[in-house]
Amino acid sequence: MNNSLTGDVLVEVRKLVKHFPVAGGLFSRTVDYLKAVDEVSFNIKKGETLGIVGESGCGKSTLGRVIIRLLEPTSGEVLFRGQKIFGIPRKEFQKLRRDMQIMFQDPYGSLNPRMSVEKIIGEPLEIHGIAKGSQRIERVKELLEVVGLSPSHIHKYPHMFSGGQRQRIGVARTLALRPIFMILDEPVSSLDVSTQSQIINLFEDLQEKFALTYLFISHDLSVVKHISDRVGVMYLGQIVEMAPVSKIFSHPSHPYTKALLSAIPKLKPDGSRKRILLTGDLPSPIHVPKGCRFHTRCYMKMDICVSHEPTLMPVDGDKEHLVACNLKTS
């Protein structure tokens, strides 16, 4: 991936690593490291939605948090509009941070119950010194309308809203600073199906209206397929396959992606495709298997997989479709 020179790349992630120390023993010394994100590289183009899927513990949420510098990386680089975001002074970063926002899963935990809607949405405006007083109230009302809530809600508190409405308030808050890049971390996972579709449609409308770029993190493949232009599949801290959405769902290449796709219960059961049942559980990210990380659960394992760790390579010369699997490279 060296198209960093082309103008349409908004975010560039280069060999990003995030390890968390694991304390243990008598004096809580660091005895090991949890490898949440382990050398991940990719680009996000302006205006696209990049979906990241993976099971719990694969590091997808940590990835989102490091990209927006809520967590400092162990090593690696993230470039936003060509500008480094790590290792620059806080003040300077704050200016960049306006344009990049993150939104979380839990509509109950992420809104302060003691703050009114006006305060919740207006707070970022105040922090960044953008709007004050009546100007701020006007902007909050405007934002409420953008996310499909009545401006009359402005003096209410979070407990007075349903889960879907709270998620809309969260969206309004992230939009307050007119960002161009949004990280959405499982934003619809805690919602019921009928509410989920409302919020997904809202994200699509906002993207069109404000030319937003999304990094959409989710464990739900159906939702990711619906909303994304490109998809990256994560397993144990690494991206094992990345491709445009149509390719990854019609021609999955990595054995893990294939298993993941076949595991989703379908509404129209087709007898033709056989389900691939993976045996066992996800290994601990503290003791990552040597060689290919997936080899302990892989049904296509070869001898080489135990010792040789594959890297992301184009599938049949297709530069858009990358896979990290020894089957494809040997």
Binding site: S194, N201, H226, I264, L267, R275
Partner: protein, 300 residues
């Protein structure tokens, strides 16, 4: 439910599906939850009339239940072997020593590797999928006639969910037990059940065989719900939105519970609750659409 049948109850949060399941087991929290009226016939006998002692002989033995949270349903301070053999002791009056052997056998049946070692371990040493397998092992310990599964895979990852659904299917085939699957996920319903009840605001709004419901839903709520799910097996389209939100269970509505969100609602829907009427042998519908009362009404 027939003997050996697999029935699904599907609905969104607050529709009453879990309360229905807990009522079957007579596990509603008392005194806040009380069964006001109605009957629950299990093998021809009304279990609501049974004493608590008689109920204990049914619960866990003839009818057992697994829950969504495999993390919190196990006792953290007892070994897996102890907990599984407790389920056996209660209902099979086996001595504890013979129990360990039987427990190991049960764990093997639910697909736990190295069961001899696992019986000596504690719940925190297991993953979510394994804990759910252990819950299932305990639930099937006494060959129940009915297994109630309340969102058993909601907390699990898709690959683990597929393993658990496969296990439930196989166990049902092997033991001929009936399965009542309670879920919000139509995919799980399609995968595992033969017949479905759709619930909304505490009522059954539609009942049909699973193929019928997926191909030709009749109730506006079922239709809307199916259209609002992003599908992996279909081309991208704009998701359908059911306007409004789920009513609060404490708000009593006259008329049809879905009427405030229904675009087909007419005068009669506001005034009268639609009865659950039979469409054919297997289908039932609670909606005024298609009745003569509805066609005579003016549009709202």
């Amino acid at each position: 439910m027939k003997k050996g049948e697999s029935l699904g109850i599907v609905g969104e949060s607050g529709c009453g599906k879990s309360v229905t399941a807990l009522s079957l087991m007579r596990l509603l929290p008392s005194p806040s939850g009380k069964i006001e009226d109605g009957q629950i016939l299990f093998e021809g006998e009304d279990i609501l009339k049974k004493s608590e002692i008689a109920m204990r002989k049914i619960r866990g033995k003839k009818m057992s239940m697994i829950f969504q949270e495999p993390m919190t349903s196990l006792n953290p301070v007892l070994t897996i072997g102890r907990q599984v053999s407790e389920a056996l002791e209660e209902h099979q009056k086996l001595w504890q020593r013979c129990n360990m052997g039987k427990s190991i056998e049960l764990l093997k049946k639910v697909g736990i590797s190295l069961p001899e070692r696992r019986v000596l371990e504690y719940p925190h040493q297991m993953s979510g999928g394994m804990r759910q397998r252990i819950m299932i092992a305990m639930a099937i310990a006494s060959n129940p006639r009915l297994l109630i599964a309340d969102e058993p895979t909601t907390a699990l990852d898709v690959t683990i969910q597929a393993q658990i659904l496969e296990l439930i299917k196989n166990l049902r085939r092997e033991f001929g037990m009936a399965v009542l699957m309670i879920t919000h996920n139509f995919g799980v319903i399609a995968e595992i059940t033969e017949r479905v009840l759709v619930m909304y605001a505490g009522k059954i709004v539609e009942e049909a065989r699973v193929e019928e419901i997926l191909q030709d839903p009749k109730h506006p709520y079922t239709t809307g719900l199916l259209a609002s799910i992003p599908r992996i097996d279909e081309k991208k389209r704009r998701l359908h939105v059911i306007e409004g939100s789920i009513p609060n269970p404490s708000d009593f509505l006259t008329g049809c519970g879905f009427q405030p969100r229904c675009k087909y609602a007419r005068e009669i829907c506001l005034k009268h609750q639609p009865p659950l009427r039979a469409l054919n042998g297997t289908r039932h519908l609670s909606c005024w659409i298609g009745t003569s009362e509805y066609s005579e009404e003016a549009q709202l």
